[in-house]
Amino acid sequence: MRVTDLTLGLLTLLGGIAIYISALDFQAIPGQSYGAGTMPRAISFVTVLLGLFIVVKAVIAGERMPGLRLEEWTRSGPALLRMLSVLVLIVVYIVVSPLLGFLPTAFGVMVAAMLILGVRWPLALIVSALAALAIQQSFGRLLLVPLPRTDFLTFLW
C-alpha cells in the first residue's frame, strides 16, 4: 500500500497544519513566552515546510493527481486477510485475556496464528501449548509479571 509522492506530500502538509492548530491552546510557562506549545509548533513548522517541499518536487516530476499504488499483496484476498488477522489477534488478546486469563488466550491466539500461516493442527496445538506454558512460567512465575490468571489454572502460578 504505497502512496504517491504527491499524496505523501499533501498528507505531510495536512499533518503539519493539524499539529499547528492543535498546539494553539497549549499553555506557556507562567511569565514566559515559551512552554507546552513551543515544541509542537516547531514540529508543525518543519512538517509544513517538508510537505510543501515534497509536493513541489512531485509536481515538478510531473505528478498532477494524488493517488495510491497498490502492491501485489493487496490484490490477493488471502494475503490481505492474513495481514488483517495479525491486527485482529492482537485486539482479541487485549479484550479476552483479562476475562479468560493469559494461558487460554495465549494458547488460542497462537493456535489461530499458526493455522492461518498453514501449520498443521497437531503441531500448532503442541507448540502453542508448550510456548504458552513456557511464557507463563518465565514471565508470570519467574519475573513476577502479573499476567491475567485463570481460575482453574491457578496451581500453575
Partner: protein, 502 residues
C-alpha cells in the same frame, strides 16, 4: 584501579555471567534467522532486562546485539538471505564461497574479523569516552541542543531512502514524544483525557511495535516460508584466518577503524558501516573484479566494520546520552528506566558502571569466537525452523513484553498502533530508525530548546555565542544546506538539459 576492580566485581558474578551466556545464545538464534534483526533481538530482550539490575541488563543487550550482528552472516552465507541488514553488504561473496563448497571459509572470516572489529571498537570506546566526557561536562543547554539536532540530522541524511522520507520519520517520532504531561509547562498534550496517555508514549511498546510487529505483519502477508540450508561441519573455521590476517591486515584495521567512526556518528549504525567498508575495500583492492565472486577481502573489511560500529555507537550514547543507532537508542531508554541518566555525569557519579560496560564489551567480543563456532555447527537446525511456527511465538512474546512494562494492556495497544505505523512507513520506504531516535531524543531536544530560548530571551544569536555551540551549529547547518544546494544546482536549466546529470 579500585574502580576497575569494583566494575570487574559487578561483572564477574555467576548470575551476570549466566545472563551473558544466555543472551549470547539468544542473540545468535535471533541473528541467524533471516528477517529478525539485531534491533529486534534488543527489542525482544528489553522486557526481560526490566527485571534485572543495571549491569546484567546492559550486559544482556550488549552481548545479544554483538552476537546477532555476527550471526546475521550465517544465513547470508548459507542461504543468500542476510540475517540482519548489517550482513547484506557482503552476502554475495559469502554465498559464492558456499556454492564453491567452502561455507566454513566465509563464516570463519566473518567470525574472527567480527570479533576483531568489536574489540577494536571497544578499545576506542575505552580510550575516547572519558576524555570526551571531560569536555561534555562544560556543555550548556546550547551545546546539547545543537548536539541533539546534529544527531537527528545525521539520522535523517544517513538512513536509507531519501532525506525527505527520513525527516517524515523523525517528525513522527518527535510528535509522539510530545504526547503526555512531561513538558516544560507540565500541561497535558494530546492525552484526550486518558490517564494512561498522560504518562506519555511508553517507549518500549512503541519500539516493539515499530520493529517487531511490523515484521510479523510482513511475515503473515508472505505466509512464512521454509528454507533448506546446506550442512556445515564446523571444521577448519579458524584454520584459514591466520592466513587472512597476514594477507589483509590493512583491510581488517581499516574496516575496524572506519566502522567504529561511523558507529560513533549519531544516527549511523552497523549496516551503513558495512556497506561503506565494502565499497572502500573494493575501491582500494588490487583485485576489485573478484568482489562478489566469493572473495574474502571485502568480507574481512566489512565484517570487522559492522561489529566495530556496534561498539562505536556507544561513544555518543554514554558520553552525551545521544544514541549512535537504533540499538543504543533502546539502551538509553533502558538506562532511564533503571534510573541512570547517560551523559558525562555518569563518568563521575557511577564510573564503576561505565567500566563494567567496557568489560562486558570485551567479554562479549571474546566469547563470540567459541559461541560463534557452536552457532556455525548448529546453524542448520536453527535455519530449519519454519517462520510460520516462529512468527506466532514472536507475536505472543511482543504482547507479553509490551504488557510487562506497566502491567497494563494499554502497552499492547501502543504496540499495535506503532506496529501499523511501522508497517505503513516501511511500505512507503520511510525508514524507522529516525522515528525511534526522535522518540528518545524528543524530550531532551524540547528541554534544551525551551531552556535556551528562555535563557537567551528569544534571541537565536545566543545559540552561536559559545565557541563549541557555534561550531556544532554551523556544522548542523552545513549538513542541511549542502544537500539542498546540490539539489538546487541539479535543477538549474543548464543541468536539466543534460538528462544524465539529473
Amino acid at each position: 584501579m579500585s574502580t576497575v576492580m569494583e566494575a570487574a566485581g559487578l561483572v564477574f558474578q555467576p548470575y551476570v555471567l549466566l545472563v551473558i551466556l544466555g543472551s549470547a545464545a539468544f542473540g545468535m538464534f535471533v541473528g541467524a534467522i533471516p528477517g529478525l534483526t539485531a534491533t529486534m533481538a534488543t527489542a525482544l530482550l528489553v522486557p526481560v532486562t526490566f527485571f534485572m539490575e543495571p549491569v546484567p541488563a546492559i550486559a544482556t543487550i550488549v552481548t545479544a546485539t554483538a552476537m546477532a550482528i555476527f550471526a546475521g552472516d550465517i544465513p547470508g552465507t548459507m542461504l543468500r538471505m542476510p540475517g540482519t541488514p548489517a550482513s547484506a553488504a557482503y552476502v554475495q561473496d559469502g554465498y559464492a564461497l558456499t556454492r564453491q563448497g567452502r561455507p566454513e571459509s566465509a563464516l570463519g572470516a566473518s567470525l574472527v574479523f567480527s570479533s576483531m572489529g568489536g574489540i577494536f571498537g571497544t578499545l576506542v570506546l575505552i580510550s575516547a569516552s572519558p576524555a570526551l566526557a571531560e569536555i561534555a561536562l562544560k556543555f550548556s543547554s546550547f551545546e546539547y541542543f545543537w548536539l541533539v539536532v546534529l544527531g537527528l540530522s545525521c539520522a535523517v541524511f544517513i538512513s536509507p531512502g531519501s532525506p525527505a522520507r527520513g525527516l517524515i520519520s523523525l517528525m513522527v517520532g518527535l510528535f509522539a514524544a510530545t504526547i503526555g504531561l512531561e513538558n516544560p509547562a507540565g500541561a497535558p498534550r494530546y492525552t484526550f483525557g486518558s490517564v494512561e496517555l498522560m504518562g506519555g508514549i511508553q517507549f518500549i511498546p512503541a519500539m516493539i511495535g515499530l520493529f517487531a510487529v511490523s515484521e510479523v505483519i510482513r511475515a503473515f502477508i508472505k505466509r512464512g516460508g521454509e528454507v533448506r540450508p546446506p550442512a556445515t561441519s564446523g571444521r577448519g573455521i579458524f584454520r584459514e584466518q591466520a592466513h587472512n590476517l597476514v594477507t589483509y591486515p590493512v583491510q581488517a584495521l581499516r574496516g575496524s577503524a572506519l566502522g567504529t567512526a561511523i558507529g560513533a556518528l549519531p544516527g549511523a549504525g552497523a549496516d551503513i558501516a558495512a556497506w561503506i567498508s565494502y565499497a572502500i575495500s573494493k575501491k582500494f583492492s588490487k583485485t576489485p573484479e573478484k568482489f562478489g565472486t566469493g572473495h574474502v577481502e571485502g568480507l574481512v573489511e566489512s565484517g570487522a566494520s559492522n561489529n566495530g560500529a556496534m561498539s562505536g555507537a556507544w561513544i555518543p550514547a554514554l558520553v552525551f546520552g545521544i544514541p549512535g543507532d537504533s540499538i543504543t537508542a533502546i539502551v538509553i531508554g533502558v538506562l532511564y528506566v533503571k534510573g541512570i541518566n547517560p551523559g558525562p555525569m555518569v563518568f563521575i557519579t557511577q564510573p564503576q558502571m561505565i567500566y563494567a560496560v567496557f568489560i562486558v564489551f570485551l567479554l562479549a567480543n571474546l566469547m563470540m569466537l567459541p559461541l560463534g563456532w557452536v552457532a556455525i555447527k548448529g546453524a542448520r537446525q536453527v535455519l530449519s525452523i519454519p517462520q510460520k511456527v516462529l512468527m506466532p511465538l514472536i507475536l505472543m512474546f511482543c504482547m507479553v513484553g509490551s504488557f510487562a512494562i506497566n502491567n497494563s494492556v494499554f502497552g499492547i495497544g501502543i504496540m499495535l498502533v506503532f506496529g501499523i505505523i511501522g508497517f505503513l512507513m516501511e511500505e512507503n520506504d520511510i525508514p524507522i530508525a529516525p522515528a525511534i531516535l526522535g522518540l528518545v531524543l524528543g524530550p531532551m531536544l524540547e528541554q534544551n530548546f525551551v531552556t535556551s530560548m528562555i535563557k537567551s530571551e528569544g534571541s537565536f544569536i545566543a545559540f552561536f555565542e559559545r565557541p563549541i555551540a557555534a561550531g556544532l551549529g554551523l556544522f548542523t547547518i552545513a549538513v542541511w544546506s549542502i544537500p539542498l544546494v546540490m539539489w538546487l544546482l541539479r535543477r538549474r536549466p543548464g543541468a536539466a538539459s543534460r538528462p544524465q546529470d539529473s
